[in-house]
């Protein structure tokens, strides 16, 4: 699936990933390939992106995540 992590100032990550873990307001939330459409608010924490090459972590201060048609868009702050 395609993952985009964008902030108002820049784009943090954009590309293929096998899994994403985001800090949802009600607890950590894992998103795998072919996840159902979802919109969730995020709190401060780390976003973990698992790609074929390994794991990447991105610090965010809150935001919102949208999953649609196998595309994950994280609007971070």
């Amino acid at each position: 699936m395609v993952v985009d992590i964008i902030t108002p100032d820049k784009s943090l990550f954009s590309g293929e990933a096998t899994a994403v873990t985001v800090p949802g307001t009600d607890g950590s939330l894992g998103i795998l390939d072919k996840h159902a459409p979802l919109i969730s608010a995020l709190k401060q924490g780390k976003v973990k992106v698992t790609t074929a090459g390994g794991e990447d972590f991105y610090e965010i201060a809150g935001g919102v995540v949208e999953v649609q048609q196998n595309k994950v868009i994280i609007l971070a702050e």
Binding site: S11, S40, V64
Partner: protein, 293 residues
């Protein structure tokens, strides 16, 4: 015929002015590129956020939100976004003129003008519209380091005042960036938020059946302040890029004018030089004739 020395010194001064305007044009062109990149970077974020919000407000009444409450308009804040520096044509004057127009429109209400940019700040600081306590004291410093974080602080201050009931309406006046040669003056209502009219059916087909986590209401209350902050930041970025575009155009025109002027002066100079030579020859010839005659 003007004297030669005078013309020569004018040519030098016009040429050095031309060099300055040319350099300023180059600087603006380089800065414009960066400012433009910032907007391009920002636009997908803004449009995605707007899309999600629209998606939510289609199925949820947002008019009950604390940022959407309409009140009788008694206290108005106008956020006027200009540049810190001049020499960019009518760029700043357009904004200031529009702000003054808005002030007239709301005659009778208590109006304050929050100036983001020195030009507007200077033109309103000695008036009754100066916002005074409770607002960032020198808000034009934002341009020293234009980031989302810093613009959020200002947005948050304004939003808090609105929620407390100290403001009833907030406008945003800025130049939006169309292309390097064109800026469009925009007046937007910042608060209370205007809920966009339900879109036509064509936009709906792509909407999936979302799972909302934790629930719609909470997401909306989280997203609305965020989208307001983004709106202000977008205004700032647009104005910033427009400023450089406007300055580039203004400096380009100035350079052209200087070239024209220097050409004219050179012609004048050559004519004067020729006239003085003719005069001299005439004097010599007539002198020689008088001697031989």
């Amino acid at each position: 015929m003007a004297n030669l020395k005078e013309i020569r010194s004018r040519i030098t001064s016009v040429n050095s002015t031309k060099q300055i305007t040319q350099a300023m044009k180059m600087v603006s062109a380089a800065k414009l590129k960066r400012a433009q990149d910032a907007i391009v970077q920002m636009r997908p974020y803004a449009s995605k956020l707007h899309e999600i919000l629209e998606n939510l407000s289609a199925s949820l009444d947002v008019s009950e939100n604390e940022y959407a409450k309409e009140r009788p308009v008694e206290r108005v804040l106008i956020i006027s976004i200009t540049s810190n520096r001049g020499l960019c044509g009518a760029f700043n004057n357009n904004v200031i003129k529009r702000v003054k127009g808005l002030i007239e429109e709301h005659a009778g209400a208590d109006i304050k003008v929050l100036s983001l940019g020195k030009k507007s700040f200077e033109s309103f600081k000695k008036t009754a519209y100066n916002p005074g306590v409770g607002y960032p004291e020198t808000p034009y410093e934002i341009y020293n380091d234009l980031t989302f974080e810093r613009s959020s602080i200002i947005a948050q201050a304004v939003m808090d005042k609105y929620v407390e009931g100290k403001l009833d309406k907030v406008y945003l006046v800025y130049n939006s960036f169309k292309n390097a040669a064109m800026q469009i003056l925009k007046t937007e209502q910042f608060l209370p938020i205007v809920s966009s009219a339900p879109e036509d059916a064509e936009g709906n087909e792509s909407k999936a059946d979302y799972i909302f986590e934790p629930n719609k209401e909470e997401i909306v209350t989280e997203l609305i302040p965020k989208s307001l902050k983004v709106q202000l930041y977008k205004g700032l970025l647009e104005s910033h890029a427009s400023e450089h575009g406007a300055r580039m155009t203004a400096m380009h025109k100035a350079t052209d004018n200087a070239t024209e002027l220097s050409k004219e002066l050179k012609l004048k100079y050559n004519k004067a030089r020729q006239a003085s030579i003719t005069n001299e020859i005439l004097e010599i010839v007539s002198g020689a004739e008088a001697l031989s005659g």
